[in-house]
Amino acid sequence: TVGAVAVDREGNIACATSTGGLLNKMEGRVGDTPCIGSGSYADNNIGAVSTTGHGEAIMKVTLARLILFHMEQGQSVEAASDLGLAFMKSRVNGLGGVVTVDPQGHWAARFSSLQMAWAAAQKDTLHYGLYTGEHFTQSI
């Protein structure tokens, strides 16, 4: 699965997620990706999230909208992302990852899986990582 979230100069937010789905899936299986609130969600008033991971688990907790709910309650992008992922792990034993932004341009790339390739660009700096805790930067 691949995904992106962005905030432009006007403060408008958007998200996009695309996937080939689950390895050796049944024909006709649809996962979280095309489901609003699961595969991603965007609202200028709150932020945006794109998700990846155990699709059925993500759908059961509507992970993208759950994280935005935590942000509505005042949590930071990072804390809200971690809360959503932790809930998914504890409640339905699901692993995954998310990229999250808020309208001010705060962002997070968080995951409970072994790895997640991620990158962010802001203020002419490229941030990226793969393993938990990795955060490299370089000038764009």
């Binding site: 691949v2 962005a6 937010i13 080939g20 990229v99 962010a120 660009a121 203020k123 490229l126």
Partner: protein, 166 residues
């Protein structure tokens, strides 16, 4: 703080010999999307461009490089959402197109529906002039190898479990 774009290339296990390609792919997509934003472009154009780049990159499980279903075929899902209007568009179980994210955007822009699926999505793609591509053009050797390994009754349970991440 603005503009900003954040990209992911999928959760799960990235084999060591593919980690550089994954990092390179997400960084390249982030640079392309950021270029749009820095030039005054809008966030929807930026996220769609980022995802197109990764759909076209065989490293990732989307577009070319998608994992195979049990029949050894490719069925893809995609979703876009606009935070200003809450407009959204999605496609599911769509076949034989290179960039499902562009079709999802067309669903958002050209229809009153939220999601089109399977043959209906394909018909819509044809009506919109989206070119069909051969199934084989979306299938990589790596995807075929993983499919065959996971068909086996004694498939590695760890790899099988990681494969359950879309």
């Amino acid at each position: 703080m603005l503009p900003v774009v954040v990209i992911h290339g999928g959760a799960g296990h990235v084999p060591r010999d593919r980690s550089d390609m994954s990092i390179s792919g997400v960084c390249s997509a982030a640079r392309a999307a950021y270029g749009i934003l820095r030039g005054g472009g809008n966030s929807m154009d930026a996220v769609v461009e980022a995802v197109i780049q990764m759909e076209n990159n065989p490293t990732f499980n989307a577009g070319c490089g998608s994992v195979l279903n049990v029949k050894g075929e490719v069925e893809m899902d995609a979703l876009v959402m606009d935070g200003k209007t809450l407009a959204s568009g999605a496609v599911s179980a769509v076949r034989n197109i290179a960039n499902p994210i562009q079709l999802a955007r067309l669903v958002m822009d050209k229809t009153t529906h939220a999601c089109l699926t399977a043959e209906g999505a394909s018909q819509f793609a044809r009506a919109m002039g989206v070119p069909e591509v051969p199934l084989q053009s979306l299938i990589t050797e790596y995807a075929r190898m993983r499919w065959q390994k996971n068909l086996a009754h004694d498939a590695n349970p760890v790899e099988s479990q990681m494969g359950k991440m879309g």
